[in-house]
Symmetry: C2
Subunit: 602 residues, 2 copies
């Protein structure tokens, strides 16, 4: 199936997104407008992004001492993206937005991630930046910065990490001090001077737009001149690359933000990634967003959607690899498939897709790709429910989203990477060369387990926070949703095997959660947070696949699309879900094998 | 533990290799000479290979239209390697060899694979090539070609694959026709003219040595001018890059072998990899080795050792990543470890190694690296037994080696890659940059599941051939060896848990093997050969780890080295071995989910 076919099925036959059009916010929309958005995204991705995916890998961003140069294709692609209106796709019409549901916005963006994820990153960052300002900025900050970002006039960044502080944002050392006596009266917001270093800043320097809007986390020193330890001391600031006047017009003067270096990455090379120095010449002008000390809370407001976006990107890289390896396997011949009477060397060679193990590698990819898409769209639909649903449903969606976000980010990052490795394997030696696209997908995808919260951080978030928040209400809600699917599945003889397997996995997951926390000692409870994350992810995916399978069964039975979805469901239940036992074993036992190793014994 | 400490322990405390010195072939050797070899290899690898690992990745082989250029460092490193005598390390003294046991030779070569695997590849290919000639060539072929290769004067290649035929060698189309009337009387062997294309030829073109000895598989047409289908028609030929006279002196005339192109790879870039055209100008001169039609049999004579070598290489790449990530985790600080009372933001940051999940990622790498080394050395020791043991023991070793070779090749290729991914993860964002070595290890290692028989091919070999050869004798022998370890382990209370787990896994593996073949239909039996390979591999590794653990326990208890080995054993038994259940499930069920998918449903 093509990505478009899968998206259409998931959006309409599974998630029934057209029903959203009954809500006031989406009243202007219909299946037709949704389709038109997907059509546009698919076409733009095909014409402006996909043809240049290798080019932006080969021609890395280059700094000539003054400017960072990107291929012309990147300029063209992002200009076309901005012109499509997708930067403001889900925003109010008042902001030039299309008022699309989040779930449709994500579906549209899926095409760009599949075509060239590293060019798409500039747009995702810009949208995220602007939306954060809509949530927490002043009206003037929104008009000056967010509006220009939604229009694609300026691009944005997120400046969180520092060379010494990545996962541990509480340790950031960038200082923001009030800029003079009247600092509080600047029309653009309380004005500070920032001094510090920011690392891993994607889109941190380029000439794509005449200005760059950095959103920067920094600490305001206390009266004693010291920084407050931990995340509570963190505030958020807008730091434009070029200074602007009160109306946001460029003054022609450079702000005190300098490129200290480009990072040279394994993949994702189409996105400039930088070390930025703030305040080499006295302090970069920054305008505070939100209250002092609320910086991380403001940033986390966008975290769920950002993490869904990372997961969706990982899934679409897997989709790109699946498509390439499937096309190759349909054409390329090699050897003969095992037959009941052995192999006949004189017979014509078989196509790769006729070999059992190649079929396994393709079906595994399909299960990952379409499962990952289902996960991302389900979560995006929860965002819509949270934002435009009735109060009770909105609250429930919010709770479930909190629960699922670590999975939405981590599962595709881990398994999408595995899918990309399988795509290489299908192509064999050719897959290992740069003449085929699959090795780049694999390199690009390796980032996704690292950025936006590492895999380990996701595990701690899930088992340490989400599984126990509100006395376990999130977990109960999830179990309730899974039960609803199980009830329907048990009515289908075709699915009895799968429903029983999922019910058992869910029960064991609950037991493992309780066992982990049985002694209330976080050290032992969280010693195996990552295996827990893996088991949790596989259980969620098994549930979504079963639910998707039910929708497929409602479709015309016997079509290739339905047969494919049911096969992928079968695969996931039979080959993947059983892996959860091994992961949960150590969680249940509160196994401390790894904790107990003396450090000099490694 | 350093690689050297692990090698010393495995060679002496576990495998007792010094006992080999009682055999006539190794009578000149002792612990001291073995140590001296390892000392030399370790030093050469540190001085001549490791410093240039990134350089050979960055400065890929370059073709100027006439010559292929490699960095000077590659010339220097390989000259030093040749001067050390390691090219002939295990050969008779008459060939300038050191008459080292295979197990010590492999241990010595481990350092080079860890330091710079892609430079080491030229040497491995040359040794393998020359040894094949010792086994199957005429005395003159041995003197002219093999002797020069052992001395490092000429390097060698293995030319098997063709653009259309990789896994399926039976489909090669390179033709070898007798070169004139007196073709049979050439002093260098029956002389043919070869015409065809050979793909993926490592070391296929370079200026490292004044000649290159290609060993080429080709088919001799029948009387009807047609090639025999399948592998039975394949013969083996020596095709020198530059022509030689009867004494092997260069005539100054180029043979008809031309570089058609360099392959541009994801990793392993220090090894030239080529497409070669044979016979563009009428036919390349080639001298047949062995009988017509025996080409693949000759080649396979070297296959076990080559596959052990691939597995060892994959393990040593994992070792390189482990070492780098361990050093980083000991130094780099980030956040605070989870404590019983939560985290204190005002406390100094913890080093990475204090975090539970980082410890898990380090211990997993240690279990893979040291387990992979144990596997490679165990198999190498079997080679020694096969070659210099008493007849019965030699036969038994040969049978066990047949059984274990697919595992020795595939297990480190799959899990060494996973170890390299964990190393990246430990370094986080830094690990994703080219400023640190771990991303290159991961790229380099991705090749190992592809070359020398893909992962899928190894699975078919194991379940389709090895598990059923001689009525299952190989499997029985392995089970017998595992039982011997279990018996000893059951006497150690510390190991009772592990012995029981392994006994259960072994039993299930046997049952799955029988279940797979229960219907005698190879289509269904082999439908899940790769999951079988994975389960088999993990079971073998669990056995070896338990056996290594027993040796560790005999050592001074309470030392860091012993504590580390026991922890890695615990890790493998508790976190890894349980994964076999999920893999065997589909084997036992003869699951045809993947086989059954209609092709248009993907």
């Amino acid at each position: 199936m093509t990505t478009r076919q899968t998206l259409d099925f998931l959006l309409h036959d599974w998630l029934q997104v057209e029903a959203l059009c009954a809500r006031e916010r989406f009243a202007e929309h219909s299946r037709e407008t949704f389709d038109a958005v997907l059509d546009t995204c698919e076409r733009l991705a095909r014409e402006k992004f996909a043809p240049f995916n290798r080019l932006v890998d080969t021609e890395e961003p280059r700094f000539d001492g003054e400017r960072v140069h990107l291929p012309q294709a990147t300029h063209d692609a992002l200009r076309a993206y901005a012109a499509s209106g997708m930067l403001a796709a889900s925003q109010d019409a008042a902001w030039g937005g299309l008022q699309l549901p989040c779930v449709v916005e994500k579906a549209g963006n899926a095409f760009f991630s599949q075509a060239c994820i590293s060019m798409g990153a500039y747009a995702m960052l810009t949208t995220g930046n602007a939306r954060l300002l809509l949530a927490h900025g002043t009206p003037r900050q929104q008009q000056v910065f967010a509006a220009r970002e939604f229009a694609g006039d300026w691009f944005g960044t997120m400046c969180l990490s520092e060379p010494q502080a990545g996962s541990s944002l509480g340790d950031i050392a960038t200082r923001a001090t009030p800029d003079g006596e009247g600092f509080a009266d600047d029309p653009l917001g309380p004005r500070y001077r920032l001094v510090g270093h920011k690392m891993w800043i994607s889109g941190g320097e380029h000439e794509l737009t005449p200005n760059i809007v950095h959103l920067v986390l920094a600490k305001i020193p206390g009266a004693d001149g010291k920084l407050v330890p931990g995340v509570k001391g963190i505030s958020l600031f807008i730091v434009p690359k070029w200074k602007v006047d009160a109306d946001g017009e460029l003054t022609g003067e450079r702000n005190d933000v300098a490129l200290a270096g480009l990072n040279h990455k394994l993949g994702y090379r189409g996105t400039t990634n930088t070390l930025l120095n703030f305040g080499e010449r006295g302090g970069a002008i920054g305008y505070r967003v939100g209250a002092p000390g609320e910086g991380l809370a403001c940033m986390f407001h966008m975290m769920n959607e950002a993490r869904i976006g990372v997961g969706l990107g990982a899934t679409m890289l897997a989709a790109a690899g699946y498509e390439a390896s499937l096309a190759y396997a349909r054409e390329r011949t090699q050897g003969r498939a095992v037959g009941s009477t052995g192999k006949d060397a004189a017979s014509p060679p078989a196509r790769l897709i006729e070999h059992a193990d190649v079929r396994r590698m393709l079906l595994a990819q399909k299960a990952i790709v379409e499962g990952g898409l289902a996960l991302a769209l389900y979560c995006a639909r929860l965002v819509d429910e949270q934002q435009s649903g009735a109060p009770e449903a909105a609250a429930e969606a919010g709770l479930l989203l909190e629960m699922l976000t670590p999975v939405a980010k981590s599962w595709p990052s881990e398994w999408g990477l595995e899918a990309n490795s399988l795509a290489i394997q299908v192509l064999g030696g050719y897959g290992y060369t740069r003449d085929f696209p699959v090795e780049q997908h694999w390199r690009d995808n390796r980032l996704n387990m690292i950025h936006e919260g590492t895999h380990g951080i996701q595990g701690l978030d899930l088992l340490g926070r989400k599984a126990v928040m509100q006395g376990g209400q999130g977990l109960k809600l999830l179990a309730h949703r899974i039960d609803a699917t199980l009830t329907r599945a048990l009515g289908e003889p075709r699915f009895a095997e799968h429903a029983n397997a999922l019910a058992r996995a869910l029960q064991r997951l609950g037991a493992a959660t309780r066992a982990a926390w049985a002694t209330s000692d976080p050290v032992r409870a969280l010693a195996n947070a990552t295996p827990y994350l893996q088991a949790f992810g596989h259980t969620v995916l098994a549930w979504l696949w079963l639910d998707v399978g039910l929708a497929a069964l409602r479709q015309a039975a016997g079509t290739p699309a339905t047969a494919g979805r049911l096969a992928a469901l079968d695969y996931f239940m039979r080959y993947e879900l059983p892996k959860t036992d091994a992961w949960l074993r150590v969680v249940e036992a509160r196994d401390t094998t790894c904790l107990d190793v003396p450090e000099d014994a490694f």
